[in-house]
């Protein structure tokens, strides 16, 4: 396969997306008006961090070229549009605003005519934009007695609630996903925000009809509760439409996944994981999301047909287990250039239940329930690990022809930490090289960027016997 060096067209592409992002942000600000914008910037100081998006774009397209560069820029641009839509929801639709835990299905809230806001979203987005920005919220939570060993995502989310930087909402819905830390955080968030809260319960052992019925019942009760506590009303036709569009997205994504099985891969990294993370979790069933996946598929296909690999000199194909290293989000950019590592797929994207049966309201709720229970994070933190955790890892390695497993060993993810010992032994038996990166998702004081590079470097050079490409 041939590779392309960044050239003039790449430079122009970057500037084009930078201009689009600026234009979109400018349009939002103009629509909101200077006085209201000024007030809301004070009310929501984190909006300043969101404005750093073009710095993120620059870091993510660095050294990448052609269709791969374009795909990454497109996904980043799509996220910007998505964030703007959420912000406008806060600005103009606060009478319909609810907060919901990040793994609950936004499809339902949208179909009810509600404006959803995911509290964890900022904890995921902001460290990507400004690596150290969450430290103040982590410290705020700690000074209120939240133990420092709780996962930094719920801890930072608690910190944001304590600092009163979330929008006022009518109600809060949460669940026992994905972990105890996340579940418990809503005790504090609901108490702090003084809003009615509802919790959805997801069984531990989910692979049976009994669990599916129970969870679908929980979703039904949640809808009834929301109808009681908010002006939202379920529009089943609307839900069906959203779910059908989500199915279209899933079909496109599966086609892309099929193409990246090819060695070397025609598409990689953020084009794969960030697209799933944002568009399936925040904007499922949007026409813009379908358009994005159509374009992504098209770019992937073009690369495949033209025999172009996304990562020049793809030498190693990696699986990333656990959420990506948020405070060092351009880790893969560095690893691509330093060792020719191509990130093919990750645990936050991979799932085995992509489609929704839209025949009846019941079948929709069951399918949505199944998608959540069998979906990323939920699936890997419950059910016996023998049935869900290891089989997924080994299936992905085989199916996508991967050379190694990288676990982003976020110190606060106790569910992953507690499986590392067994995983090490299983990978050793299977002859699969395993790297566990010790770090914290968003607190670079635990392991700075250089510490992550050193761990990857030690692994690549000593175990994979890789040579630095420069």
């Amino acid at each position: 396969m041939s590779t392309i060096k960044p050239g003039l067209s790449d430079y122009l592409l970057f500037n084009k997306y930078r201009a689009i992002n600026l234009m979109n942000i400018g349009r939002m600000a103009a629509k909101h008006g200077p006085l209201d914008m000024h007030r809301d910037l004070k009310r929501y100081p984190w909006i300043w961090d969101l404005l750093e998006v073009n710095a993120l774009l620059k870091r993510l397209v660095e050294g990448r070229s052609g269709n791969y560069r374009k795909a990454v820029a497109m996904v980043t641009g799509g996220v910007v549009e998505g964030v703007i839509e959420l912000l406008e929801g806060i600005f103009y639709r606060s009478d319909r605003l609810i907060l919901h835990e990040d793994l609950l299905p936004p499809e339902i809230f949208r179909a009810m005519g509600l404006q959803p806001w995911v509290p964890e979203l900022l904890g995921i987005l902001m460290p990507m934009l400004v690596p150290d920005t969450m430290q103040k919220y982590l410290d705020a939570a700690e000074s209120e007695g939240i133990p420092p060993d709780i996962c930094s995502l719920p801890r930072a989310t608690i910190g944001m609630a304590l600092k009163n930087v979330f929008p006022e909402a009518l109600a809060i819905v949460s669940s026992n996903m994905p972990c105890d830390g996340g579940m418990s955080s809503y005790t504090i968030i609901a108490r702090q925000m003084k809003k009615p809260a509802y919790w959805v319960d997801i069984p531990f052992d989910f692979k049976n009809e009994r669990a599916l019925d129970y969870f679908a019942g929980e979703l039904k009760d949640m809808i009834a509760w929301l109808e009681k506590h908010t002006p939202g009303r379920m529009d089943w036709e609307r839900l069906k439409e959203i779910c059908e569009k989500r199915n279209t997205m899933a079909e496109l994504e599966l086609d892309i996944w099929d193409m990246i099985r090819h060695r070397p891969a025609p598409m990689a990294a953020e084009a794969i994981w960030m697209s799933h993370l944002w568009f399936f979790n925040i904007n499922p069933g949007y026409d813009t999301s379908i358009k994005l996946f159509t374009d992504l598929k098209d770019l992937t296909q073009k690369n495949l047909e033209a025999n172009v690999s996304a990562v020049p000199h793809e030498k190693y194909r990696a699986l990333l287990w656990n959420p990506p290293t948020l405070h060092y989000i351009d880790l893969m950019v560095w690893a691509e250039r330093t060792y020719g590592v191509s990130l093919i797929l990750d645990s936050m994207s991979f799932n085995r239940q992509p489609f929704i049966d839209t025949a009846t309201p019941d079948s929709i709720l069951k399918s949505l329930g199944n998608i959540i229970m069998q979906g990323p994070m939920s699936r890997h933190t419950r059910g016996p690990a023998e049935a869900n955790y290891f089989p997924d890892i080994f299936h992905m390695v085989k199916h996508f022809d991967l050379d190694m497993v990288w676990v982003a060993g976020h110190i606060g993810c106790k569910n992953t930490q507690a499986m590392s010992g067994v995983l090490r032994e299983k990978c050793r038996d299977a002859g699969i090289p395993l790297l566990v990166i010790d770090y914290d998702l968003m607190d670079s004081r635990i392991t700075p960027k250089e510490g992550i590079q050193e761990q990857v470097g030690n692994f690549m050079e000593n175990i994979m016997k890789a040579k630095r490409l420069f």
Partner: protein
Amino acid sequence: MDTDKWFSKLLDEPLNELVQKSMDEGQIPIGYSCSYVPEVMLSVDGLFPVRMHATGIAGTEIADNYLSSVICSYTRSLLEFALDERYDFLRGWVFAASCDHLRRLYDNLEYLKRPGFSRILDVPHKTGDAAINWYTDELKLFAKALTDHFGVDLGADALAKAIREHNAFNAVLRKIGEYRSGDKPVMTGTEYHRLVIAAGTSPKKPLLPILKKIRNDLPKRDPLPPYRARLLLAGGHLDDPGYISIIESQGGLIVADRLCTGSYPGLLPIPETGDPIAALAKHYLTKTSCPRMMEAFRERAEDIVKLARECRADGVVIQILKFCDTWGVEAAAFVSCIREAGIPVLRLERDYRLGGEGQLRTRIQAFIESMGK
């Protein structure tokens, strides 16, 4: 017989004198590790429950290799003991999917060391009708698995009998507990906790007459020497009376507790009429006070305040195991609720293994001083 010493000895080893004796008589010991596991179902003819503990654990080096050092030290200690063959006498064990730590302990044990019978109960995180129905079904499946494996009878009559015996046993323990809470306590919290833990970790039949004798003798005892403050002890798993004894050595008498391994509220009677499994499901879901239950924070907090007032506690001590997510977050919220109610509160983090006694003494002493006692 020096009762204190005898009871202490029962806690020294998972395989204690009474467990051994029951095994010699052909009874089958089944381990369990969480209050959501209905020990009544392990108390039918032929079986007896043993709450798993790892008293005297020196270190958790092998367990840390598997569970990592950021998991709660109770679960790590259980894994270490299991790998050290200290639970080999158990013919099976039952866990509850109650928290991440216990779930992962189960996952590791399934890989590293699996006894003939091993099960994890899927405990819902809510207590409404749907959750109770779910847990009823879960317990029915559990009963069937026990019957299939051990050939024991868990029919309605057998369970009803087990519930009656359980209630009778707990009535004695509850009564004993009153002697530490009254105006002039005759029993320390340490002594009471020792009895409660021994009751959980030993077969109940041989223990019952001894507990009855203690209950009958208590009214004849002299009141305890003066103490500086009456305290309520709340928090998660604690099976070491030594921890309470350090608190009491500083003059803080534990007059009541809200521990999942303590007296309240699991010792309350289970309804003896109706479908026994449904009664068990409801009892264990609603009467086990654990922060893993969503939606019930306010009830738990109010309950502590109410209990503290009822037993005229001067202050509340919350002890939690380090790395416990649910208690870690909940304790932070408890502290402010209890303070808002005007009750002094001290929050302590600890390791499963008793250590740092000097620091603990200092903190308790300072807490009591801060109350002006």
